[in-house]
Amino acid sequence: MQVVAVYYEEKVKTYGLNQIKGLSLISSVIDLQDNLANVRDTIDSIQDQVKFLVAMLEETEGTKARLYFLVSSENEKKVVEFLNAGAKTSTDAPGTDVISPVELVYFQGPHFGDRWGIAYNAFGALRKGEIRALVAALSGAAIFLVFPESTSDKAVLCLKEVFEVP
């Protein structure tokens, strides 16, 4: 049985824009074969004391990957220590980079992950305002955008031009 539902939207609908300031964006390259076991072993040092707002991974080369975590600034030190623990056995550990403070804007809408053009609308709105995200994670039905300090207010205004915010 096929069910067809149709609706029309003048502007792309969202369930609201959320904004958080005073965050830290931490990134580190780890070798998934050599370093991850060390990272896993040190995870008890932070357990559930620290939560991430955004987590992202990019394969770089071979078995290496760059991890990104967005956390509140007060938890930056714990996360840096935890990631550096993973690099102890790697002879070419590049270390951990931190950008702080940064700001987060995130939002979701109906079937965002199933419809073409949503990402284009978002990046187009930002481009018009001459703002670029440091990191963007678009999966599921949500969009997470990390901005340099003092730029997320303008990003929100730009996004509201193309997205309907209740």
């Binding site: 502007k11 995870i43 987590a55 995200a133 678009l138 599921g140």
Partner: protein, 180 residues
């Protein structure tokens, strides 16, 4: 491998249909790489169920996925646009996504999930968190094995069945909200 008491608890797993993963890196100072990539695909009405973008120094790195059905046309058009010394583009065929939820913003859940890939040697091309899911871009052919491995490494509800993409969304043209 984790013992029962070490295993984190999640509520479910979701797997995608077959996809093509695309890795694009701009090494020149192209500040609009993600906008241009998304614009090319939007113009062809090609959806991306996954996009990650990072910007470091003068380089932008993008990982995204398109449906297998759009493989030929998507590859053709993206290869023609992102050509030349300033770009590096790679297409990974037979890709797929596996998502676990809820992640509870937990580093433990994230690292345990990543360990499934690392310990089994199954590649992970990209990963991004959403409101409650962690979505991993990997090989489509490895998805069933990953379901088994994740079921071993996490505690799932006893009646759990992996979710599979069943709903097809068709979107007709909508007015562009911004000019090129």
């Amino acid at each position: 491998m984790q013992t029962g008491s070490d295993r984190p608890r999640i509520d479910g797993i979701k797997v995608s249909s077959e996809l093509v993963a695309i890795k694009l890196q701009s090494t020149e100072n192209d500040i609009d790489t993600e906008y241009r990539l998304c614009g090319v695909l939007a113009k062809e009405k090609i959806n991306m169920p996954f996009v990650s973008v990072s910007r470091r120094k003068n380089s932008v790195r993008i990982i995204c996925c398109i449906d297998k059905g759009a493989e030929r046309h998507g590859e053709e058009i993206l290869s023609s646009v992102f050509t030349g010394g300033g770009y590096s583009i790679k297409f990974i065929r037979n890709a797929g996504m596996i998502s676990i939820f809820p992640h509870q913003s937990s580093f433990k859940i994230f690292v345990h999930a990543l360990s499934v890939f690392a310990d089994s040697g199954i590649p992970v091309y990209g990963m991004a968190s959403s409101l409650s899911t962690l979505s991993f871009v990997t090989d489509f052919g490895a998805l069933e094995r990953l379901i088994c491995l994740i079921t071993e490494q996490f505690i799932l509800p006893p009646d759990h069945v992996p979710l599979r993409t069943e709903i097809k969304i068709k979107q007709v043209a909508v007015p562009q909200a911004h000019a090129d």
